[in-house]
């Protein structure tokens, strides 16, 4: 859906999406890195299990909810990527204790 402009010279940051290494860039938000990855990063809703992708990218819609480093329901559009970050696509509601 999205591609990176060639002028982007930012350093690479390696993150892991459901255990698979993905190259992000310094300064990407988690949601931007996921959308740029080309992978299937659709979460599913807590109510009906419908697939969703980020909608607003500015912190208001909560369709970017994702599990980051073991913590569920994080707004991926507000969290910058960090080297080695473990991201899990959240299916359904947040699990107890995560």
């Amino acid at each position: 859906m999205f591609k990176r402009s060639e002028q982007d010279k930012r350093a690479q940051v390696q993150i892991f999406v459901d255990g698979v290494a993905v190259a992000a860039r310094q300064g990407d938000t988690v949601s931007a890195a996921l959308l740029a990855s080309g992978r299937d990063v659709r979460r599913s809703t807590a109510v009906s299990g419908a697939p969703r992708l980020p909608y607003c990218m500015m912190g208001v819609c909560f369709d970017c909810l994702v599990t980051i480093d073991g913590v569920g329901n994080r707004q991926g559009c507000l969290v910058p990527v960090a080297e080695g970050m473990q991201i899990e696509i959240q299916k359904g509601k947040r699990e107890i204790g995560r």
Binding site: F2, K3, K9, G27, D28, A33, Y55, L78
Partner: protein, 472 residues
């Protein structure tokens, strides 16, 4: 890394680092007031100047001169003594000007003598059939990715809606080598006539020439369909097609990405939760706070600047920020206020920045069918409530948005009504033959953004707090 506020008390706390917040904090701190700036994003800029300090888009022409204005505002803030904390989510503000803010998973509490809310705007809900399907996003979302990560649409891309941002985004996508297959312009034919009496003011505003040249730039490269009266997205788990009606003719085109936009509306959650009185704005079709000429709200000590005070655009936001900050300085350090630009001069700047706004508001006033959905179209994205669900609830006695919560949980999901509130108000108003003002809005409360119970439980408690809830 998370940094807690250095003090417990501040003269001024500014919430939001967009144009209004940046200008307000720099003015307030520059006048010697202890100033704390709290902002939810990774860096300064808000939405319009997003990633201004970090964007990988280095060719300045691509984002345009209006964007780079933000760099000067950030520089002015950094040159001041304001304490700035990013990734700080304010989740409570009350009438005592006590503020709770979540930073790195822990809450901190500060008190202000004056609060300047600069929480800006968000994109108006665009509840068409299929707007929750993956691959449908807002135009603002695409612009955010473009500015902060130099990401541009790659697959079959359709942009639909109306308003200045839509054309700016299209121009920026094209300049960065992105793909746009078609633009579907939903501006109502009647709006052109309605806007005509206000055209003169717009012709003399700086937006006119820029807007025109941007539309020319885009129209030279992309097929633009105007007069679109119906719009729907479809796809099984992923966007496959966009269908629309223009000139009475229906067409369906394959698409991977649909970017929607029909203007922006004030982000009211924090202000409303603090008890600030809002009124329905019949022209801008949204809730706007009731403010005096200095931006002071109905709650003593809370001022609102920027688009959160009613949509006025970035230039107006900067001036409103300065006005609100000057009013704070007048109240807290009158001797220093004399050294700041006079209020009369600032108000003249504001009138200039707001010139042509009525024309834009009238021309780009979204049509009813794009604001008030019907049938199976989702109204509340979080709780997955359709227009029919809402109308069925009205039929059995739901009178307004707050009653509707008990029937359908609308507005009770994580977004707390940000993406459904206006739709619910207008839908219920129409169904009950009332005005939006009569129907009202969700009663908003802290926490205005979700925090974990663990974070809440870790909040320091006084002996009196514990006594209040412990039995025996």
């Amino acid at each position: 890394m998370s940094v807690a506020p250095k003090r417990e008390d501040y003269d001024v706390v500014v919430i939001g680092a967009g144009p209004a917040g940046l200008a307000a904090a720099a003015t307030s701190a520059g006048a010697g007031l202890t100033t704390l700036m709290l902002d939810e994003n990774i860096g300064p800029g808000g939405q319009v100047f997003r990633a201004i300090s970090s964007t990988p888009v280095t060719d300045r022409n691509q984002l345009g001169a209006d964007y780079w204005v933000g760099a000067d505002l950030v520089q002015a803030l950094r040159a001041s003594n304001a304490e700035v904390i990013h990734r700080a989510t304010v989740w409570s503000l009350d009438r005592n000007l006590d503020i709770a803010v979540s930073i790195g998973g822990a809450s901190a509490f500060v008190r202000a003598k004056r609060v300047i809310l600069a929480t800006g705007a968000l994109e108006r809900p665009f509840p068409i059939p299929g707007w929750t399907v993956p691959g449908v996003m807002t135009a603002g979302a695409a612009q955010t990715m473009l500015k902060s990560s130099a990401l541009v649409p790659d697959g079959r891309t359709v942009i639909a809606g109306q308003g200045p941002l839509l054309w700016l985004l299209a121009a920026q996508i094209l300049r960065l080598g992105g793909r746009i297959d078609r633009i579907l312009d939903t501006t109502g034919r009647g709006n052109y006539f309605a806007a005509l009496p206000h055209a003169f003011a717009f012709l003399t505003s700086p937006y006119f020439a820029k807007g025109l040249s941007m539309m020319r730039e885009v129209k030279a490269k992309v097929q633009v369909v105007s007069g679109v009266t119906e719009l729907a997205a479809a796809g099984d788990g992923q966007l496959a097609s966009v269908s629309y009606v223009a000139g009475g003719k229906r067409e369906t085109i394959p698409a991977d990405l649909l970017l929607l936009h029909q203007g922006v509306v004030p982000n009211v959650n924090l202000a409303m939760a603090a008890g600030v009185e809002h009124r329905w704005d019949d022209l801008q079709l949204c809730w706007s706070p009731v403010l005096d000429a200095s931006g002071n709200s109905s709650v003593a000590g809370i001022a609102i600047a920027g688009d959160g005070a009613g949509i006025g655009g970035a230039n107006a936001a900067v001036v409103r920020g300065r006005i609100a900050a000057r009013a704070a300085v007048e109240a807290l350090a009158p001797a220093v206020a004399a050294k700041l630009p006079a209020m009369a001069a600032l108000r003249a700047d504001l009138a200039k920045a707001e010139r042509g706004r009525v024309f834009l508001d009238t021309l780009f006033r979204p049509a009813p069918q794009f604001r008030i959905p019907s049938g199976d179209t989702i109204v509340c994205r979080c709780e997955e409530v359709t227009a029919k669900d809402v109308l069925d609830s009205v039929a059995i006695g739901a009178t307004g948005p707050n009653q509707l919560k008990a029937y359908r949980r609308t507005g009770m999901g994580p977004c707390q009504g940000r993406l459904c509130g206006l739709t619910v108000t207008e839908l219920m108003a129409q169904a009950r033959a009332k005005t939006p003002q009569e129907i009202g809005y969700y009663r908003l409360r802290a926490p205005v953004k979700p925090i974990t119970l663990a974070e809440l439980a870790a909040v320091p408690k006084s002996e009196a707090d514990v006594k209040a809830v412990v039995r025996g």
